[in-house]
């Protein structure tokens, strides 16, 4: 990959966000100004901040004059990152630590998915009734 500015597609838990980036052969770097659009967090002098919450950043290589390292950003937020440099695409997953335990008594995570008849369906609209959620596949 030639060092220079190109467009990277970052899938934020599946939601595509485009950002200019630089591949220095080591890190993929995005402009600091694109960080809130990608992650919802803003880089401040004392760390990554959102609302009144800040995460201190100890990795000095996170932000340089060439931009913010995507890998270092993912690590600071505890989020998994998958990258394909040739395809200029990356997937920033949900943080493992934020995933609710699948246990009796926990709130059942909601979802919204296409129904085979058209339209969408989810869990929330069935509140007040018992639900049997059954996952299956043809494989």
């Amino acid at each position: 990959m030639v060092a220079g500015v190109h467009t990277l597609t970052i899938l934020d838990c599946g939601r595509p966000v485009e950002a200019a980036y630089r591949d220095d052969g080591d890190a993929l770097r995005v402009p600091e100004a694109a960080v809130p659009k990608i992650t919802g967090w803003k880089l401040e002098p004392h760390g990554l901040c959102r609302d009144d919450l800040c995460i201190p950043v100890r990795d000095e290589s996170l932000a340089t004059a060439d931009g913010v390292s995507l890998a270092a950003l993912a690590a600071a937020l505890g989020r998994p990152l998958a990258v394909d440099r040739n395809e200029a695409a990356a997937y920033l997953g949900a943080p493992a630590a934020a995933q609710p335990a699948v246990v009796t008594g926990a709130m059942a995570p909601d979802f919204s998915l296409p129904d085979w008849r058209g339209g969408t369906g989810g869990l929330a609209e069935h509140r007040g009734r018992k639900v049997l959620l059954a996952a299956w596949a043809s494989w």
């Binding site: 395809e87 493992a96 246990v103 085979w116 018992k130």
Partner: protein, 195 residues
């Protein structure tokens, strides 16, 4: 089953962790009256930490998990294979719907749920793979699927669920080899809830 229990207050929601084209062939034949959803990107698998199918979750009137991820088959043959009694599971579900079966103790955890950082990383690779696959970058997608499978070797929604995308047969030698390797290392393919 849905028609029978619907009058007593149960809604069945099915979610296919599958390509729409593959799932809809089966759904169209069944013509279900309940919500029958298709989850190509495995969002439900991620939210519930599911690692295989078939998996059922009981959810109560307040939207709380009453009984977490369990293996459940509709046929005796499938149930036998997974080491669960289909008839017993159905009877239990009917009792729960009728309010005669208490939910498992608060905090009862699913055996078939993976919340490890590796599992979460695997899902990121799967997510990138699915996006690349949809764009026609098949080889790049397959590299992501392979990486996802290495990170979460016990996640068959990834390892078996991507077989058709990789031109492999989920009922053929590739699958047999995968399962033999997994079982040979002392693991189980199905993880029923023991409560």
């Amino acid at each position: 089953m849905h028609e029978e229990l619907a009058t007593q207050g149960l809604t069945v929601i099915t979610v296919a962790l599958d390509r729409a084209a593959d799932a809809e062939r089966w759904i169209a034949k069944a013509e279900p009256t309940h919500p029958s959803l298709v989850d190509e990107a495995h969002l439900v698998a991620e939210r519930y930490g599911m690692v295989n199918v078939p998996t059922v979750v009981w959810i109560d009137e307040e939207g709380r998990i009453a009984r977490p991820n369990d293996v459940a088959f509709t046929t005796d043959q499938g149930g036998k294979f997974a080491g669960v009694s289909t008839a017993e599971q159905m009877a239990r579900l009917r009792r729960w719907v009728a309010g005669e079966e208490p939910a498992p103790e608060e905090g009862t955890a699913a055996s078939a749920a993976d919340r490890s950082p590796e599992a979460q990383a695997a899902r990121a690779h799967f997510g990138l793979g699915w996006w690349l696959h949809e764009r026609g970058s098949v080889e790049a997608a397959n590299r992501q699927f392979a990486r996802a499978g290495e990170l979460a070797p016990g996640d068959f929604t990834i390892r078996r669920g991507t077989m058709r995308l990789r031109d492999a047969d989920p009922f053929g030698p590739d699958f047999m080899e995968m399962v033999a390797g997994w079982l040979g290392a002392g693991n189980s393919y199905y993880l029923p809830l023991r409560d």
